[in-house]
């Protein structure tokens, strides 16, 4: 089945990523920074959608909680990024636990729509809460520091390194979980949710655990987003971001974790970078990309070494 990527390869990729600021100028490095933060959000969507088989349009809510928490901690408490990360992840996981307790009772299209509702309600809450800046967003977040009393990170390359660290941490959590007994149970839910109870396993517990882990990873992604932009606005929590995140998963190859990451990179590069050459047509390019991908890459960018399984409908 899904064999681990060769450790050597992973190591090489990490080395390249760490070395990037040595030869990339500030703009490309900020682009890669954005891809990493958004990519981590997409990985959290993949944990639910690809690994557990629960298509989610709601991870943006936990991303938002992480991002706003980091911002609020930055404005009111401390500019220490480690504290912001911890607070963001903790609150996002807590929010995922509270909402997930209800949400994971559903599955399939209904899960998709309930998570959409959670995402939209969070979006509107951010828009309406003056304490977090309302529709104008939360501005005035000071540049972060890594060590207490250390130098604030103002230079693109250093901000990138922090975001990379958060990314690697989140990615490690996702990989570890996906290879754990919980990960196996999550794939079990995806493959045959109805079968697990007959083995004595409550799917509710598995789904809720997956939801909380995914929420925490999305929260980490949110704090990374804030660390880079030093600004959060309700626009970051829009339905379109959720949709693009979900489609990045499909584009990359659901369930593989690294495939959706590539999907996220392709989407950001196409929408934000290529689009700069044809101003105003970013969405057109994205649309063409999606349509072409469906036919040209039937199993996503990551491909799949599995034989295609004929889809079996539950009777």
């Amino acid at each position: 089945m899904r064999r681990a990527l060769a450790p050597g390869l992973v190591g090489a990729v990490v080395v390249v990523l760490v070395a990037l600021p040595l030869f990339l100028t500030p703009y490309p490095i900020s682009l890669v920074t954005r891809i990493l933060a958004f990519g981590l959000l997409v990985v959290s969507v993949d944990l639910l959608t690809g690994v557990t088989g629960l298509p989610s349009l709601g991870q943006i809510a936990y991303f938002g909680v992480g991002a706003y928490t980091a911002g609020m901690v930055g404005v009111h408490v401390t500019d220490n990024l480690v504290v912001q990360l911890a607070a963001g992840v903790a609150l996002a996981a807590l929010f995922a636990l509270v909402t997930g307790a209800f949400v994971v009772r559903t599955s399939g299209i209904v899960f998709l729509m309930v998570t959409l509702a959670v995402g939209e309600l969070t979006h509107r809450l951010a828009d309406g809460l003056d304490a977090v800046g309302g529709s104008n967003g939360l501005a005035g977040i000071p540049p972060g520091t890594v060590l207490p009393g250390g130098e604030p990170l103002l230079i693109a390359g250093f901000v990138y390194w922090w975001v990379l660290a958060v990314f690697l941490l989140g990615m490690a959590v996702a990989l570890v979980v996906s290879r754990s007994p919980l990960g196996r149970a999550m794939r079990g839910v995806r493959e045959a949710e109805g079968r697990l109870p007959a083995l004595g396993q409550r799917t509710y517990a598995v789904k809720l655990a997956a939801f909380v882990v995914a929420g925490a990873v999305a929260g980490a992604a949110g704090t990374a987003w804030t660390a880079q932009n030093r600004f959060v606005s309700p626009g970051d929590l829009a339905f379109s971001v959720s949709a693009i995140a979900l489609l990045s998963v499909v584009l990359g190859g659901a369930g593989t974790l690294w495939g959706p990451l590539l999907g996220a990179a392709v989407v950001i590069v196409v929408r934000d970078e290529l689009a700069a050459y044809v101003a105003g047509y970013g969405e057109l390019l994205l649309g063409i990309l999606f349509v072409v991908a469906v036919y040209a890459l039937p199993r996503g960018i990551a491909g799949s070494r599995l034989r295609r399984v004929p889809s079996v409908r539950p009777a």
Binding site: V176, P181, L199
Partner: protein, 263 residues
């Protein structure tokens, strides 16, 4: 011999339809019990109630002395009352090994542990491999289930069930759709199960039933009309009549189509 499963006055109604009507029966520990009956007799309904997938309208079910009438599927499985599925319901895109590991982990590991632990994982894998060897699938352990044949999938079903360390296994028409060779292999597998695992088989194929069972319960129109050794049941005129409505029952008993029996 002590009773492992005791069913008393079990009734299941869907609106005006009574699918299971006041059934009382006992499954002895270590027995090879079979549940048969003509089309629409209520076998599947009874099976579903015993497995905990459907809630009975009335009556009680005791398992190992405990009242499990209101326990759900999960609680019954944990207590050692485990079912198989008529249509293979496996984790198709997971490997054969992972399918069994899911069951082993539930039983003897920490199924929700969110990190791998080499030692615990080795133990689980070893236990899973034992089960696979037991059902003869050791050489397919790395394959995805989707690449298994129908018969192999039924073998894997058995491995999954065994991994749950059951005291009683409910088989739901296990040989439906199998070739003759597959059926033979499957029967050998079930016959080879240790005696501390009790089995209850719901089955259409009477050859299978009479080869496996040491005790047979017969349902007709939701009621239990006979309950005894294979010889007693074979000789029971009520059984023959229920199956046929005509004098010679044996023909029909063998030509029953497996599909038509489901409500």
């Amino acid at each position: 011999m002590t009773a492992l499963l005791e069913v008393e006055g079990l009734t299941l109604r869907y609106g005006a339809v009574t699918a299971v009507d006041d059934v009382t029966l006992t499954v002895a520990e270590g027995s090879r019990h079979a549940l048969i009956g003509p089309n629409g007799a209520g076998k599947s309904s009874l099976f579903s109630v015993l497995a905990g997938a459907t809630r009975a309208t009335a009556g009680t079910v005791r398992f190992g002395g405990d009242d499990i009438t209101s326990s759900d599927e999960v609680a019954r499985a944990r207590a050692g009352l485990v079912r198989t599925y008529q249509h293979s319901s496996l984790f198709l895109r997971l490997s054969v090994l992972d399918n069994v590991r899911l069951a082993v982990e539930r039983r003897s590991g920490r199924p929700l542990r969110p990190w791998p632990s080499p030692r615990a994982d080795r133990r689980v894998t070893a236990a899973a491999d034992d089960r696979l060897a037991q059902v003869g699938l050791a050489d397919r352990r790395r394959e995805p289930v989707s690449s298994l044949s129908h018969g192999e999938r039924r073998q894997l079903e058995v491995a999954l069930v065994l991994a749950c360390e059951p005291r009683l296994v409910l088989f739901d028409e296990p040989t439906a759709g199998m070739s003759a060779a597959e059926t033979t292999r499957f029967l050998e597998l079930v016959e080879g199960l240790p005696r501390d695992i009790t089995t209850v088989v719901v089955e259409h194929d009477l050859d299978v039933v009479f080869r496996l069972a040491d005790r047979i319960s017969v349902l007709a129109a939701g009621r239990l009309i006979a309950d005894g050794s294979p010889e007693e049941v074979r000789a029971d005129p009520a059984v023959n009549e229920a199956y046929l409505g005509v004098a010679d029952g044996r023909e029909a008993l063998f030509t029953d189509s497996p599909e038509a029996g489901r409500p």
